[in-house]
């Protein structure tokens, strides 16, 4: 795991709770205390009402596959050994969309709308990525 060479997130003060939760294999996103909107990606202010009153909440990790592409050529040289791999957008039950990889599924079995659930991948000692698999 020490030689993981794909692009890694570099969390900042605002996004750190998301990655800390991922490390515990939990999915957390933000919710606006003022208007109730669920927010992803992490922000300092609500994307709907701009209130600077966001809290972190655990969410189900369940969602539906909104769209996907099967990379038959690497989208970055570091992904060369993964081809073919599935880059996907998942629509979380709570509403927000999240970029991810679909794992645990043959590429030819992927369909838009399929129910998926978060699947956490510890890529090195510090970082866990949030992937999804068929539910």
């Amino acid at each position: 795991m020490g030689d993981y060479n794909k692009p890694l997130p570099h969390p900042n003060e605002i996004s750190q709770p998301f990655w800390d939760a991922a490390k515990r294999h939990e999915l957390q996103i933000q919710r606006c205390n003022a208007c109730g909107t669920h927010i992803f990606y992490p922000r300092e202010a609500c994307s709907e009402c701009l209130a600077a009153d966001l809290i972190w909440i655990p969410v189900s990790g369940k969602g539906k596959l909104y769209s996907y592409t099967i990379a038959q050529a690497p989208t970055h040289p570091a992904f060369a050994d993964d081809v073919p791999y599935v880059i996907a957008i998942v629509e979380l039950e709570e509403g927000p969309h999240i970029t991810t990889n679909l794992v645990g599924c043959q590429p030819d079995q992927v369909t838009i709308g399929m129910p998926v659930v978060a699947s956490f991948e510890d890529v090195n000692a510090e970082m866990t990525l949030v992937k999804f698999r068929p539910e």
Binding site: K6, P7, L8, P9, H10, P11, N12, S15, Y41, Y66, S67, Y68, T69, I70, A71, Q72, A73, P74, T75, H76, F79, D82, P84, Y85, I87, A88, I89, H97, I98, T99, T100, N101, P107, I112, G113, L129, K131
Partner: protein
């Protein structure tokens, strides 16, 4: 107050795209394009008092407009960088018109040049996308547009053959364009579908090729443009729209920001899509053309695949679309890729289309698109 009819493109220059990096810098290309466009408009360098430019991937720095002004030794009273990705060139047209109408300057040089980018020269992409998209391989444009294409197929039953036809028809026009990077051989739908799958459902021949090139055009008041050697290409309508960066957070993958941009442009011009003699929609991928034609109102939402199937998009066809071959066949020289649609629109309206001239062309639609459908600028140009 409206800028409708107030300003016109009076001249242009375009460098034939080159596949390799070429033995020339972006600033060198910009100087060549500036010299040729100024001459094409029948002007002197001293007539230029406005400058709009866009970044070069291969020479990226802050304060770029001043770098360009210094290199060209011009003294603009209005200058700026238009940073709308592939929509930058279209965005320059109305910004120039607005600056002229506001009295800030009289004649604006709009110019870009770039050499084929190497990965290490790329400017950094947004930190949000570096953190939440790149770790999963959603990097640069290919997978983003593939996500759009896949969803479009799902919602509207758009087929691989329909998407391929965009590349096929545009190639016919490219074969009449001596400057096109891929203009020496027509292709058919099987050629596209048999080309390598890159990011399913997009094949190699549905994806632009980065290259070296540049372009420039001159915008001045419609009155002043009448003194030039060419028919003034008048800006009749413009509209712009934005609202997302990562495609994951676009409000829709299949209904794009082209819709409000095009509606605004047609509204300002007081015309409808059906009045257009040709269209020059940004075509980084085949799916981009299909979504753009739908959202600009040339067909119903979801009918774009069937629309391109039912029409001949070549310069000689019943729906001339990207008569220079589109970037798919012309090449994508950085921001000059977006400029190629503006220049081709002007070229057709000036009657300078030569072997690919659209007969009696007097009004046309141009669309610039930046990022992953993130920046849209629509223009209606006419003579």
């Amino acid at each position: 107050m409206s800028i409708k009819g107030k300003a016109a493109i009076s001249g242009f220059a375009e460098m034939p795209p080159q596949k390799g990096a070429g033995n020339i810098t972006p600033l060198g290309i910009i100087a060549n394009m500036a010299r040729e466009a100024i001459a094409d408009a029948g002007l002197e360098k001293s007539d230029i008092d406005g400058l709009l430019t866009g970044w070069a991937l291969s020479d990226y720095s802050v304060l770029w407009p001043s770098v360009v002004a210094d290199y060209l030794q011009i003294r603009p009273t209005y200058f700026n960088q238009v940073e709308l990705g592939g929509a930058s060139a279209a965005g320059m047209v109305w910004r120039a018109a607005a600056a002229i109408e506001a009295g800030m300057c009289n004649t604006v040089l709009c110019v870009v040049g770039d050499r084929r980018a190497r990965a290490r020269q790329m400017p950094p992409f947004p930190s949000i996308e570096a953190e939440f998209d790149a770790p999963y391989g959603l990097i640069a444009a290919n997978p983003g547009y593939a996500l759009i294409a896949q969803r479009h197929k799902y919602e509207y039953d758009t087929t691989a053959e329909q998407m391929a036809k965009v590349a096929v028809d545009q190639r016919k026009s490219a074969c009449q364009n001596p400057s096109a990077l891929f203009g020496n051989k027509e292709i058919d739908i099987d050629d596209v579908l048999n080309s390598r799958m890159i990011v399913d459902p997009l094949h190699l021949l549905e994806i632009v090729s980065p290259c070296t090139g540049g372009g420039a055009f001159i915008v001045t008041s419609t009155e002043r443009a009448k003194d030039g050697p060419h028919r003034p290409v008048v800006l009749l309508g413009a509209g712009e729209a934005g609202g997302h960066s990562s495609i994951t957070h676009a409000r829709s993958l299949t209904t794009s920001l082209v819709k409000p941009a095009a509606e605004a442009a047609f509204h300002m011009a007081g015309v409808t899509p059906q009045d257009m003699d040709f269209v020059q929609p940004y075509d980084c991928y085949t799916i981009t053309v299909i979504v753009t034609l739908e959202d600009a109102g040339f067909c119903e939402k979801g009918e774009g695949g069937r629309f391109v199937e039912d029409h001949d998009l070549s310069y000689a066809g019943d729906f001339p679309c990207n008569t220079h071959g589109g970037q798919l066949s012309f090449g994508q020289p950085g921001l000059a890729g977006g400029m190629s649609h503006v220049i081709e629109g002007a070229r057709q309206l000036m009657g300078r289309g030569e072997g690919r001239q659209v007969k009696d062309a007097s009004i046309g639609y141009v669309n610039g698109n930046g990022g992953i459908m993130a920046e849209q600028c629509s223009l209606v140009l006419g003579v």
